[in-house]
């Protein structure tokens, strides 16, 4: 056994040296994929039916958990037991806007004080992390089957705009699915990696990534194998689903369902309206007009003619919401009027960029014809697999390096609720920053530390990441006690905060767990629960091996009793035979430890007898036999 080294919290390797394969996983809002580098080329891995896209849908039924197309097929009949677009809920609390949004077919389990989102599905309460872990588990199993063995690790992609809470949740889901998460990689960066290596491009590139539920814009500089993210921005709650929703709104209004009446109309109907809207949108990618057909519960069939122009008018407001973030990212990257830097290309990522109106909009916005020759659904997973291969020490692309940034500023709430930024957005990671604060009031005995993420001036307009206290300061006049706060952001973009009081040396350090996230204990518990089954397997294996060992010892001891009865002294035979009987009965039972103990007891009882037999064999050995024969006799 090789030796153990102490890891940082949460960093114990699961399978560091097990020779396996590393994969890239795109855990998408609508679909998820897994890819791996095979023979030097990144490829997506398909399931038995040859499908690469796994719908990110999980169904919790009486007959177990279903993931993917099978789960999607249950969505209409069991809308509350079937969770789709779970990515929108990652790292979010019950009070967040994404959760309280109007058109949501889910039911939430209440009652927990921690504010963590829990879906009431299939008679249980599941968190978004657990739902995502089900999807990841299926992809892991697919990869293990395809690659023929255990995985060494995985790179999981996240929208660049994901905040700390969302990243933590994604990493937790990976752990829960039994994956060694080598790195969380920003989706646009992954796409740039796939394109950059494919085209050997150099220069400044914008990656416009419009997925089902998230929008990202990133500006990267590609030079000599280094992919440097210059700026990033976006909206973690904006995507193609919003196009569907805009179209669905029209249908719902025509059906005469005002917002208030929608609950009564039933979640199942809402789902079907959304599905019909999506299908119509997809048909309009290639057709100038289409008919949206929706069978109603009453038996009637609702029909609505939708032209491409009409759809484009419906989705235009959603599309235009991507503009400001793009302009800001360009500015942050130092591109535009008044600078000598220009953009060399625009890459399209995400299924929603298939919509012609999106392409036209991007072209207008950047003044460049966008690149879209790698399948926009696959490009992120492909790029992630390249990064996974690099991280796992693969030989291809050894010279490639990604330099990524944090998407949103990290700061602390100050007196009066204003935010003091500690690490500004677009800082290259890993990074650290330190700041010293003093007490505000006389005899103040503690500091309340509130860590927030976002660009707004007031703390309550930013995302609350964590709160903790540094307590036990001796009473001192205001301004005397000094607290030194250190922010550390690792290469996954995950934050750790340390606070230290200068005068007394009081310390508090926390791995920032999002205010609405799962605690380490909860994750640990889920992990333990998931290895409950493995425990049973191990018990079976142990039992079998102890029985085999017992068989061997029983046979050997009986043979010895028969061969050398003259060497037995006093009640030795009785003792050994009692031990034999005891072992025999334990062997018939289920308890491997009992078998083990009785093997030891027999060993003890027969120890001296065995020693005498050894001596006899040695004496015989003296009379000219070879050592091997002597050993065989024993």
């Amino acid at each position: 056994m090789s030796l153990l080294q102490i890891s940082e919290p949460g960093q114990s390797p699961i399978k560091e040296a097990c020779k396996g394969r590393a994969v890239g996983i795109d855990l998408g809002t609508t679909n998820s994929l897994v890819a791996a580098v095979r023979d030097g080329r990144p490829v997506v891995l398909a399931d038995d039916a040859g499908r690469a896209l796994l719908p990110s849908v999980v169904h919790y039924g009486a007959d177990g958990v279903m993931v993917g197309a099978a789960a999607l097929a249950r969505a209409a009949e069991a809308p509350t037991d079937t969770i789709a677009s779970v990515k929108r809920f990652m790292g979010r609390g019950m009070r967040d806007a994404e959760v309280t949004r109007k058109v949501t077919p889910y039911q939430f389990a209440g009652g927990e004080a921690d504010g963590v989102v829990r879906f009431a599905a299939g008679g249980r309460a599941v968190t978004p992390v657990e739902v995502s872990a089900e999807i990841l588990r299926v992809l892991r199993e697919r990869a293990e089957r395809e690659l023929g063995g255990e995985l060494e690790g995985a790179v999981i992609t996240v929208p660049a705009y994901f905040d700390d809470a969302q990243r933590q949740a994604t990493k937790d889901a990976g752990r829960l699915a039994g994956l060694e998460v080598l790195r969380l990689l920003n989706e646009p960066t992954a796409a740039a990696l796939a394109y950059g290596l494919d085209k050997q491009s150099e220069g400044m590139f914008a990656v416009y990534d419009l997925g089902g539920g998230t929008f990202d814009i990133s500006i990267l500089k590609l030079e000599g194998g280094v992919f440097e993210v210059k700026a990033t921005g976006g909206d973690s709650a904006l995507g193609g689903d919003d196009f569907d929703r805009a179209i669905a709104e029209v249908v719902l209004r025509e059906l005469g369902l005002a917002e208030g009446a929608r609950d009564a109309a039933g979640r199942s109907l809402l789902r079907r309206v959304m599905a019909a809207a999506r299908a119509a949108k997809e048909r309009l990618t290639t057709e100038p007009a289409t008919e949206l057909v929706l069978p109603l519960p009453s038996g009637e069939v609702f029909r609505h003619l939708l032209t491409r122009a009409a759809m484009e008018a419906l989705i235009a407001p959603v599309l235009e919401r991507t503009g400001p973030a793009c302009r800001r990212a360009l500015k942050d990257a130092g591109i535009g009027p008044g600078t000598d830097q220009k953009l060399d290309g625009v890459i399209l990522v995400g299924g929603s960029t298939r919509t012609p109106a999106v392409r036209a909009y991007v072209e207008r916005l950047f003044g460049l014809t966008p690149l879209a020759d790698i399948d926009p659904d696959e490009v992120v997973a492909l790029g992630a697999s390249i990064q996974a291969e690099i991280l796992a020490g693969g030989t291809a692309n050894r010279d490639v390096l990604l330099l990524d940034v944090i998407p949103l500023s990290l700061g602390l709430e100050m007196m009066g609720g204003v935010v003091e930024k500690i690490i500004p957005r677009n800082s290259t990671i890993p990074t650290a920053a330190q700041q010293t604060f003093t007490t505000f009031a006389d005899k103040q005995t503690g500091f309340d530390v509130h860590v927030v993420q976002g660009e707004r001036e007031l703390a309550d307009q930013c995302r609350s990441l964590a709160r903790f206290q540094l307590k036990g300061l001796p009473p001192m006049p205001a301004g005397m006690a000094r607290m030194e706060v250190t922010f550390l952001v690792d290469a996954d973009g995950i934050l750790r905060v340390l606070a230290k009081e200068d005068v007394t040396g009081q310390q508090a350090s926390i791995e920032v767990k999002p205010s609405y996230g799962l605690t380490d204990e909860q994750i640990e518990q889920m992990l333990l629960d998931s290895f409950e089954h493995a425990e049973d397997d191990v018990k079976t294996r142990l039992l079998v091996s102890e029985r085999v060992e017992a068989e061997g010892i029983l046979a050997a001891t009986r043979a010895a009793l028969e061969r050398d009865p003259d060497l037995l002294e006093g009640d030795e035979r009785g003792e050994i035979e009692r031990a034999l009987v005891a072992l025999e009965s334990a062997k018939a039972g289920q308890d491997h430890r009992a078998i083990h103990e009785r093997v030891e007891a027999l060993d003890l009882a027969s120890k001296e007898f065995a020693a005498r037999r050894m001596n006899r064999a040695m004496e015989r050995g003296m009379s000219g036999r070879r050592l091997e024969e002597v050993e065989q006799k024993l």
């Binding site: 800001r328 010279d399 550390l488």
Partner: protein
């Protein structure tokens, strides 16, 4: 050019030593005059050697060291690539803390402060009058003055005159703040308000 303090001659990672500067981390001479392009190349070459991506399968202690050194490198590059931050950092190394806001640091001349106040009032008026032309003219003027102050910083360093550098850096800070304000208030990109 000297080597980075993050790695030894054999390319092994080395922990930070006491008194290490950003210049040591990047392995460049401690001077105000640095070639931006050269600095960037150096930063990228070092990133390749230090980045945690290179140590994913290494022992935990090595991974931790890589994380620390890559963090040091990023901080060093962030500070040195920007001439104003670089100047402030150099001043800090000789004990002049320009960034102190508790009143203990060096101060701008009262006449200069008056001028800045007038400039900001002017900006506010122009904004209220939606006078984009005037805002533009003021911006151009302040940009030119910032460039001149930066030249003064370089000249001050060349002459070894810390007082001259300090005065110019303080002026630069005010100009930058003014320009930030122009950008923040004039942009059409304030989408966070949505």
């Amino acid at each position: 050019m000297s080597e980075s303090s993050c790695i030894d001659a054999t390319g092994e990672l080395v922990p930070a030593r006491a008194g290490e500067t950003h210049f040591d981390v990047l392995g460049v001479p401690r001077t105000f005059v640095l070639d931006a392009r050269e600095l960037e190349q150096r930063y990228k070459a070092l990133s390749r050697k230090l980045h945690p991506d290179r140590f994913v399968t290494a022992a935990p202690a090595t991974r931790m060291l890589s994380l620390r050194r890559a963090t040091d490198l990023n901080q060093a590059y962030k500070t040195l690539k920007d001439p104003v931050r670089r100047a402030e950092y150099l001043l800090g190394l000789v004990g002049v803390d320009v960034g102190r806001e508790d009143g203990g640091g060096p101060k701008a001349a009262p006449a200069f402060l008056m001028e800045i106040m007038e400039l900001r009032e002017g900006l506010l008026e122009a904004r209220e009058a939606h006078d984009a032309v005037r805002v533009g003219a003021m911006t151009t003027d302040v940009r030119a003055r910032a460039a001149a102050a930066l030249a003064e910083v370089a000249a001050g360093f060349a002459a070894g005159d810390t007082g001259r550098v300090t005065a110019a850096v303080i002026e630069l800070r005010y100009f930058r703040r003014f320009l930030d304000e122009v950008e923040a208030g004039g942009g059409d990109d304030d989408e966070v308000a949505a």
